[in-house]
């Protein structure tokens, strides 16, 4: 599905996310927050974007072989595309269940992998889409700024 009407006139930001690199996770979210503040987006909406971006970052760090988060920003909305390089989600419905997680014990001991990532992203989003194949999962969300 295409949530972005046209590429022209959008601010596009890309963040590479490295597998297992917990120390850097949060950078994309933090940077996006600054950009949206500069645009004057309402704070509660920025907070939703930040949470969604952070959870998406953490998901890529924990579960995938690395990936990328792309933000496309217009004066009316932001679209976040979190795309990773596999291994894919076997059962999306299960993955969307609060508290369900395939994270390892090691990851849970670090305080991650509570099984809230995807449900949290969905809760923050106005539009939510997830597609998964063996070699790639893509989560796409849209959050409107509701300025008028």
């Amino acid at each position: 599905m295409s949530l972005v009407n046209s590429e022209a006139g959008l601010i596009k930001l890309e963040y590479d996310i490295v597998q297992n690199d917990f120390s850097r996770a949060g950078e994309a979210s933090s940077n996006l927050k600054k950009v949206l503040k500069q645009l004057g987006v309402p704070h509660q909406i920025i907070r939703r974007v930040a949470i969604a971006a952070y959870e998406a970052e953490i998901n890529i760090v924990i579960h995938s072989n690395g990936g990328k988060i792309t933000a496309k920003i217009s004066p009316e909305y932001i679209v976040l595309i979190a795309k990773d390089n596999g291994p894919g989600i076997k059962d999306i419905k299960l993955a969307m269940t609060e508290g369900y997680s395939t994270a390892s014990n090691k990851v849970r001991e670090m305080g991650f992998g509570a099984g809230m990532g995807l449900p949290n992203i969905k809760r923050c989003a106005d539009v939510f889409d997830i597609q998964s194949k063996k070699d790639s999962t893509q989560v796409t969300i849209k959050i409107s700024f509701n300025l008028e």
Binding site: I11, G26, S29, S30, K33, K34, V35, K37, Q38, L39, G40, V41, H43, Q44, I46, R47, A50, I51, Y54, I73, S74, P75, F145, L147
Partner: protein
């Protein structure tokens, strides 16, 4: 009054335009222009990092000196608790308070009494709000409160809306003296002996209240020598028996002292503005909803690290440990009395905190959007060294400054037409 009063100011004669302060400013509030630092008032949170960073002592705080006492009939000093750690051991609270009084004050009131009252109110506040709002954030450090106001406005609701010990002490003592001697409030001058530029700002531009009961602030470093001389005279001699607060209250000068005195178990203590920012990021992401209380302080080690202190913060901490061994608890505050004062709006916030949009490029998102496009384009052309030679703290900040009309592209040393702020024509 200036809308953006700040206590931190620059002595431009001493400033060499070296960029040390600019690189240390946690809110990117400093620029260098024409070989002089300038402070962007709306971004400054008065943390004092620039005062500590400046090798030429060009950054300082506007404070009063002892001459200001003559404007009042009755002169009261409230020394910041931090003062007790400024002198090597074998000095007790009474000797220090006597030595402050001897500078020309009629009365000296211990700030710790304010902390003791605040402690009761914060406990009560946690009882009422602690289950719905997690974590609550201490309002003890005014720089941190200003940081939240401008950088983390969604956390404003988490701030404990209780006045500072300084303000509480000022209110209690001013009314007490008015009642006892019949002075008008305007005839009584309350002076805070401060380790902290942000406190000076809070007197002129208070947070959460309409008007401060403190009339002026004198920096600890301004009168340290005079106090020290008096201490030498007073050491070992009989002093007045000053009314003082508790040992737990004294520990508020140290990071973690407040949380400890509240008997909390599930809390975070963080010092330094950058460290506090990291904790606030986590709170905004909802990752610290299991924590009850965050005590965040702008200075290293807490108030002992304040920019206007004399003693090294780590030595001061040791001085406190020695002092606390000998210290006897002072007065006890009645819980009902404290809560009634709060209900009357006398010792807690009455005014709402309003977010400060310091990052916004324009109030019109379409204009902000166009600016952002220009900034992103410009950043790609810059070297990304964050060298500061252009007078902005980072290449990103420089691009923003250029687009906002605060700087010009030729100030980049890598620009074809640069004149590097005139440095090469020295």
């Amino acid at each position: 009054m200036n809308k953006y009063f700040h206590s931190v100011i620059l002595d431009s004669e001493k400033c060499t335009g070296c960029t040390n302060c600019m690189q240390k400013c946690p809110t990117e509030a400093l620029r260098v222009k024409d070989k002089k630092a300038i402070i962007l008032n709306e971004r400054c949170i008065d943390c004092g990092n620039c005062i500590i960073a400046c090798p030429y002592h060009a950054q300082k705080a506007v404070a009063e000196n002892l001459d200001a006492l003559k404007n009042y009939k009755y002169k009261i000093a409230i020394p910041a608790t931090t003062l007790y750690g400024q002198f090597m051991s074998e000095v007790n609270v009474d000797t220090i308070l006597q030595s402050v009084k001897d500078l020309g004050f009629d009365y000296v009131y211990d700030e710790v009494i304010g902390s003791d009252l605040a402690r009761i109110l914060i406990k009560n506040y946690i009882k009422i709000h602690g289950n719905n709002t997690k974590p609550l954030i201490s309002s003890h450090c005014p720089s941190i409160t200003r940081l939240i106001q401008s950088k983390f406005p969604t956390l404003m609701n988490n701030i404990v809306k209780i006045e500072s010990p300084m303000e509480i002490a000022a209110r209690l003592v001013k009314l007490k003296i008015k009642e006892k001697y019949g002075y008008e409030l305007s005839e009584i001058g309350v002076f805070y002996i401060t380790p902290c530029p942000a406190k000076i700002t809070s007197i002129k531009n208070p947070i959460g209240i309409k008007k401060s009961y403190v009339d002026g602030a004198i920096s600890i470093n301004e009168i340290y020598g005079d106090i020290y001389k008096n201490i030498k005279k007073n050491r070992g001699k009989e002093t007045e028996n000053f009314m003082s607060g508790s040992t737990q209250g004294i520990e508020w000068a140290l990071a973690g002292g407040q949380s400890k005195s509240l008997n909390l178990t599930n809390y975070i203590v963080v010092d330094g503005v950058e460290n506090a920012c990291k904790i606030f990021e986590k709170i905004e992401l909802g990752k610290l909803n299991h924590i009850d209380y965050v005590e965040a302080l702008a200075c290293t080690g807490g108030c002992v690290g304040g920019a206007l202190n004399v003693e090294n913060p780590f030595v001061a901490e040791n001085n406190f440990r020695n002092l606390l061994k000998e210290n006897k608890d002072g007065i006890t505050i009645n819980e009902k009395y404290a809560i009634d004062l709060c209900k009357a709006g006398f010792v807690c916030w009455t005014e709402e905190l309003i977010p400060k949009e310091i990052d916004e490029l324009s109030s019109d998102i379409r204009i902000a959007f166009k600016k952002m496009e220009k900034i992103n384009k410009l950043v790609k052309e810059l070297p990304g060294l964050d060298c500061g030679s252009c007078g902005s703290p980072t290449c990103q900040a420089f691009a923003e400054d250029v687009v906002n009309g605060l700087s010009s592209i030729e100030f980049c040393v890598f620009s074809k037409n640069n004149d590097t702020q005139g440095y090469d024509n020295k």
